[in-house]
């Protein structure tokens, strides 16, 4: 009986730890995504976009706000970053995925960060 209780308790603890872990992971991903977006050698998104918390921001693109409302589908937002020409073939936004400026994983991180805006 005691053993079962201990087992149950430790299972609960483990489960909790797992949940806590994903939260931490999520926060880490958001941070990594933001770093990639701000890094001049990587996304350098601030060259063109206003982003809350950014400095020295450009005005060549629209401000990045309310991403969830504007991009309910994650794939669509991924495509916008990966190759903005899909939506607008005259865009000046660099095709980050197609031109291998950012890897797939890196774009996923940027998208995760974008959804916090």
């Amino acid at each position: 009986m005691k053993i079962i209780k201990v087992l149950l308790m430790s299972a609960c603890l483990l489960a909790q730890a797992a949940i806590a872990d994903t939260d931490v992971q999520k926060a880490q991903k958001v941070k990594q995504g933001q770093e990639l977006a701000f890094d001049r050698k990587k996304g350098n998104c601030l060259a063109c976009h206003y982003v809350q918390g950014g400095t020295l921001m450009g005005t060549a693109g629209p401000p990045l706000v309310a991403m969830k409302a504007r991009f309910p589908k994650r794939e669509v937002l991924f495509d916008q970053v990966s190759d903005a020409r899909i939506k607008n073939n005259k865009t000046i936004m660099p095709p980050f995925g197609s031109h291998e400026i950012l890897s797939k994983q890196e774009i996923e991180l940027v998208v995760t960060w974008l959804y916090t805006l």
Partner: protein, 293 residues
């Protein structure tokens, strides 16, 4: 009834158009054929400059020679202060000395250029119909040297930029006067034009994207200036370079910024680009050398 009227009016339109073509044909060919290319380019120039006149309607057309400082009022004030004690002054002095020093064979630069090389910046680059290529001022300076048994100078900075600065300084206020004399010249112009409009580099940006599309907008702390009047102030002393540099050095910089491989200074590609850009700036005054951020 309506449709017959429509088709009637359409056929009238077609007839008029046909007549126009038939009439325009002999009229056009009656003119000197060399002018055909010049005319085409002139209408390009009109459209190009009109875009900037509309976009920056507060800027006096003649002021586009000042590059970014024509449109950025805050930066303009600082720039005018800097121009009071110009950082390129020394380059002009050095350039004059170099320009006047005779070659080993006793000749000098003055012997290679019209009007002894004074007040002629506005005629460069020009298309040489015998050599079938665009001759920039810097190329002409070096050809003058090699034709007189001297070694060529480096194209991006140093003594050649100084000589170019001196020659520009004797031409200030003269109005750019570059022509497109024939088909080969037009081909060079088209080559430069294509370059200006082509996406390039990992960032996939064309000159036109920044210097037409988003000119006046902020990119981080930089503002891409208007494509009109981009060449008129060269060579320039750039604070970033801490020295004077030539136009082709700047071209290489803008190519590198989009992570494209730059071309060699005075390569045919850049000379054709300079030809196109200078043609687009016809009517503006020589304003070189200049200072830039």
């Amino acid at each position: 009834m309506k449709s017959t009227l429509l088709s009637l009016s359409r056929s009238i339109k077609t007839t008029i158009t046909l007549c126009l073509i038939v009439w325009a044909g002999p009229l056009a060919s009656a003119e000197a054929p060399a002018n055909k290319y010049q005319k085409t380019v002139e209408s390009d120039i009109k459209r190009f400059s009109q875009f900037f006149y509309n976009k920056f309607s507060h800027v006096k057309p003649a002021d586009f020679k000042d590059g970014i400082y024509a449109i950025d009022a805050a930066a303009r004030e600082q720039w005018i202060e800097i121009e009071d004690f110009p950082p390129y002054e020394l380059s002009i002095d050095d350039g004059k000395e170099l320009f006047e020093a005779p070659f080993a064979n006793g000749k000098s630069y003055a012997d290679c250029f019209a009007n002894g090389g004074v007040g002629i910046r506005q005629n460069y680059p020009h298309f040489d119909s015998k050599l079938n290529e665009v001759i920039t001022l810097e190329l002409a300076i070096n050809r003058c040297r090699t034709n007189n048994g001297e070694k060529p100078l480096k194209y991006k900075k140093g003594p050649l930029a100084d000589i170019s600065a001196y020659m520009a300084s004797t031409s200030r206020g003269e109005v750019f006067d570059v022509k497109v004399p024939n088909e080969a010249a037009y081909a060079a112009y088209m080559d430069g034009k294509k370059f200006f409009y082509s996406k390039r580099g990992q960032l996939n940006l064309a000159c036109v994207d920044c210097h037409v599309g988003i000119t006046g907008q902020k990119l981080r702390a930089d503002i891409p200036g208007p494509g009109l009047g981009q060449v008129t102030g060269f060579p320039v002393y750039r604070a970033k370079w801490e020295e004077i540099g030539t136009l082709h050095r700047r071209y290489a910089g803008c190519n590198k910024n989009v992570r494209a491989k730059p071309f060699k200074a005075q390569s045919e590609v850049y000379r054709n680009l300079e030809y196109f850009q200078t043609l687009m700036s016809q009517g503006l005054a020589v304003n070189g050398p200049s200072s830039r951020k």
